[in-house]
Symmetry: C2
Subunit: 412 residues, 2 copies
């Protein structure tokens, strides 16, 4: 018999799927499991005391503002500070270009709400961040994909997809989640040029660019688009919507992120926010503003980079040592994730069951594929586990993979 | 020429309207304006030091949990504590009945998302909270209204509206926003009975029930429904969705609220939250949990009640003194708002322009009317202004009303 509520849900609820990551995190919450599954920052380097002192300061000096309702677009001094630090390399950003959201996931939800009609095509990389797929699916997005390689999404395959007139394109250019790869400069330029030619809005999701521990930083799509438009000196008005967050450079539990976009789009985002949740928590915005103003966040980032760089190295080394031949993986220059490709015929979802028996976890690759495929792929996070856990966890995974390959060989 | 973005918006964007309250707040932000417009709590009684000490405590004792990602349904100890204190008077609430949202506005948005298909009828009181209308409009809600009087919505008019098979009903039973009236016990019972007979979900928005400064508390629709179902001892599974918030009993800037509903519905709400913004800020939930656990919030509420009760008295007295004959108003027993009915023919939106010239502001009544009307009504908030400001502001408003009536008399 259907539940009372089953008879009442709106059609869009059928399009919602429970996040595989979340359900998996539930399964692997036991302390004995070494999890490379969640996209969690390293908690042991959270600047807890710094957050505590900034909180005391803002409550002492601006207690009423920190605890009262605030404007939907965000705390004005925070908008001003972000605008000021974003205006460089030919890019001019004013506070009217900026909008505070409660985490980048909310940015994705709002973009879907504003731009996606049921049946609209949304162009994404393959693989791509499953949270983006989940955010826009309830608005009726139909996903189409462009393949990627070790230099990011393949712009040689982009034009034929743009010719299908997608409503928007969603891209993660730096240390992509899940693959860890970075879009090359040449491809960035080509992407911006093509998006302009076809008049397609581009969501540039950029949570990790400051977490580069190797190689040279590359200009963002937003910067390249502004240079192409020669729009320095006037507020950015192009078709890039850039999502940024304090979750990875400070802490995720504050839920403060920001969008950079055309002032016209920002005004609509503000209206959306009014109906959706009024505004992002004032206290959290003031804490972030204080830590940004003091220059603390900039001082803190090198510690995150060092920590993640060291963990990536340990993971890569352990993989060399423990993984059987025939398995390939990416070598990210930053961020939190790397991507593993198993020999054809191995199924990473099935292997996860075996891995959990060995008390180690990862995310299978299929949910990152909007149009199916990727059964032999998986994502490993190197940011959250300690060096000891990484060595031990990769050794356990190596055993699981060796066993699976041996069984495949027997069958064949 | 249309802006680039005008060509790209989804159809539902046409259904979004900028909140009149918000736009108005912008206009009346100058310090010389005495504003009875915004629904702002009294900031001078915010427990700033208590929030500061609770924040220090949670960061010291549970810093990692406060700053890391958390579960979409909310911080488990907070769910448990709320469940425990909610289980009484024949109502059994488990943590699975509870879901944390970033303010009640997010609850309204999620309810719209889960239940409203384009063209669905949504039954609301007239007048009703404009933020609810704004939250559900983008999902294509078509509003129908049931009139209210000094005892709340008129249940004698309810059955014919329920016969139109609305998808859901939205009700504010206590010290309603905007009217300040409270639904009588008899009508509450009738409403619950009818909603059950017609199988209609009821959203019970209850931000103010603890702010009663006069008269006896009445049982919630949730409690009455549970008693009707004789469901004590098992988790509530009825058709009431109750929205509650810490915004009015603690501070709104933390953005922590909660929904009580059937566990089946809560599971769908959790999925919605995953795609929408992952979870409500961990730090904020831990702060609220600490203040609730310590018993502080319960200790703090009497101060809010006294303050608002005193301000309501001052406002009512000043209105008696300064408002011309022919103007009527409600006498709320709690909450933050009262409702003014001007003589027919006066237009409160036009009067607002005159009022702003006199440096005093209110919200005109029309945006609270889902099906039009209410041109001669307006809402006054007595929670935020000081006693001196209330006396002076009401005197100014009295002059505006006297002048308007005199001009009407000349014309006639």
């Amino acid at each position: 018999m259907p539940d009372f509520w089953d008879l009442h849900y709106a059609q869009r609820v059928q399009l919602m799927k429970s996040s595989a990551i979340r359900d998996l995190l539930k399964l692997t919450e036991q302390p004995e499991v070494i999890s490379f599954a969640g996209g969690l920052p390293a908690a042991e380097i959270f600047p807890v005391e710094k957050v505590a002192s900034a909180t005391q300061k803002v409550l002492q000096e601006r207690g009423v503002q920190a605890l009262q309702y605030g404007p939907s677009e965000g705390y004005r001094p925070l908008l001003e500070l972000i605008a000021q630090t974003s205006s460089r390399d030919g890019l001019t950003i004013t506070p009217e270009n900026i909008f505070i959201v409660s985490g980048s996931q909310q940015g994705l939800d709002f973009v879907g709400r504003l731009l996606v009609n049921p049946g609209d095509l949304v162009l994404v990389e393959s693989p791509t961040y499953m949270g983006a797929l989940q955010a826009m699916a309830p608005y009726g997005a139909d996903y189409i994909t462009v393949p990627s390689d070790e230099n990011g999404l393949r712009t040689d395959a982009l034009e034929e997809m743009l010719a299908l007139k997608p409503k928007l394109m969603y891209v993660l250019p730096n240390f992509q989640n899940p693959s860890g790869v970075t879009l090359s400069l040449e491809r960035r330029k080509r992407l911006v040029e093509l998006a302009n030619r076809y008049g397609v809005p581009v969501v540039e999701d950029d949570p990790y660019s400051q977490l580069r521990f190797e190689g040279e930083p590359l200009p963002s799509l937003l910067t390249l688009d502004s240079q192409l438009r020669k729009s320095e000196g006037e507020p950015y008005r192009g078709n890039i919507i850039q999502l940024n967050t304090f979750s990875k450079v400070l802490t995720p539990g504050l839920r403060v992120a920001w969008i950079v976009a055309s002032p016209e789009l920002v005004r609509k985002l503000v209206q959306t926010k009014q109906g959706a949740d009024l505004h992002t928590a004032s206290l959290n915005q003031l804490i972030v503003h204080e830590l940004l103003r003091e220059g603390f966040i900039e001082q803190h980032i090198p510690l995150i980079r060092r920590t993640y760089g060291e963990r990536r190295n340990i993971m890569l080394q352990a993989m060399e040592e423990h993984f059987p031949a025939g398995i390939r993986w990416t070598r990210p220059q930053g961020g939190m994730f790397l991507w593993v490709v198993l020999p054809e015929g191995l199924n990473s979802t099935e292997l996860l069951r075996e891995a959990v028996k060995e008390n180690v976890a990862f995310v299978p690759g299929t949910p990152f594929h909007a149009q199916g495929g990727g059964e032999n792929t998986l994502r490993l996070s190197f940011s959250n586990a300690t060096p000891e856990q990484i060595r031990e966890g990769i050794a356990r995974l190596g055993r699981v993979f060796h066993k699976a390959l041996a069984e495949t060989a027997v069958k064949a």
